[in-house]
Symmetry: C2
Subunit: 240 residues, 2 copies
């Protein structure tokens, strides 16, 4: 089993992912929010790459059972029911609902990787569940960091390293690419206290400035959600 | 002074570099070879983004005083006088000559960053000289890793971290982006023995397979060249 990491989606085109097993990570905050929504009973999450498309499809086939969620540059989008804070996605709000979801980096990365044979979403909150499932599958895997406007982000890269560590703890014989080795090294250097990793990251600092301190605390928790979000036929559901 | 690192050129377009101070790194082997050629008296190095363009300009205006150098996927190009091994660029061969130079990753990264206000080339062999000059300039700086076919490479990222360490050792008050912090962390994790860094990298392994062991030894030496290659008006010369 070989593991590779892409530190941002900017390096690759959609066809790169054809037939691959891919895990998308956007710790702050899209992947944490998706995990939380599904954990709290959302029927599915429909990731979209543009706000316009979110509005279009939410007003059509999904009408009634649909919530619009997401953010643009950390702020909730006008007319959307929910922002991109995982704390908003409580059971009483999302249970049984489809959520059409847009975020600056996360959903764009997911949509870019849509041709993957298997496409999963990981945050710090559900790494262990994802690691176990990847080992059951046994195929080579690309971990795609959503990054920050197509550039590197520390929190996603550290999470990629933490996910690799979870996999290695379960199975010693994985092969690591240069970038997978680097992510593992970054988790060792910067990942000892995940809350600190998030508060000291560029994106974390912006979120703190905008009053989302509690989100950072929430997103920094490791392995409190036994959920493997899987993308298939344009929607993300819980595996199994 | 702010430092930022791009782990590959794939994330950005040419205009990103407009007005910036940029350092391009391709340890294996383009930037090491450029440093060596200039150290050994080459008049200048003309980096080109395609083999076709190399052949075109070498047959024209530079005729007589020009050498064609470079590689495609580690191999010397048919009809070229020199490959991409720094060991070939000896004084008796390159002294006084213009070298039209193409390499799979390095020269493409240099050409991509051509709109930079200041554009320098660094390898492990000349980091200290580059660090000193950057501090004299005092402007913010982007370190661009040439990477491997637009993807991450461990040796360039570790070199970026080592260059940042050189800068910090001279001036404590630099600000680091997420990726600059990460590069520094990677140099701490993987850069203690630079020869090992190179032999264990993906690109290093390919070079060893192709018989270039001595190149890895040469490219791993730190700070034995007091040369700052600077790109201006389409050619790279020694600063000063």
């Amino acid at each position: 089993m070989k593991l590779n990491v892409l530190f941002s989606p900017g390096n690759t085109d959609e066809l790169y992912f054809t037939g691959k097993t891919t895990v998308v990570i956007d710790v702050l905050r899209a992947s944490t929010t998706i995990v939380e929504a599904l954990k709290n009973g959302a029927k599915d999450v429909v990731p979209v790459a543009t706000v316009e498309f979110a509005v279009k499809i939410s007003g059509g086939m999904f009408c009634g059972q649909t919530l619009l969620g997401g953010e643009r540059n950390t702020k909730k989008i006008e007319g959307f029911a929910l922002g991109n804070s995982p704390l908003e996605y409580k059971s009483e709000i999302v249970n049984g609902k489809s959520i059409v979801f847009y975020s600056t980096n996360g959903t764009k990365a997911i949509v870019k990787a849509k041709f993957s044979e298997h496409l999963f979403i990981s945050a710090l909150t559900n790494m262990n569940a994802v690691a176990k499932h990847l080992l059951e599958l046994g195929s080579d895997c690309v971990i795609l960091c959503a990054g920050n406007n197509n550039l590197f982000s520390l929190e996603d890269s550290v999470c990629a390293g933490a996910l690799i560590e979870e996999i290695i703890n379960l199975e010693k014989t994985v092969l690591l690419s240069d970038s997978a080795k680097a992510a593992l090294g970054l988790n060792k250097s910067f990942g000892k206290n995940k809350f600190n990793t998030l508060t000291e990251s560029e994106h974390g600092k912006i979120l703190i400035k905008n009053g989302f301190n509690k989100d950072l605390e929430f997103c920094s928790k490791e392995n409190n959600a036994n959920v493997v979000p899987v993308y298939s036929n344009s929607v993300i559901k819980t595996l199994g």
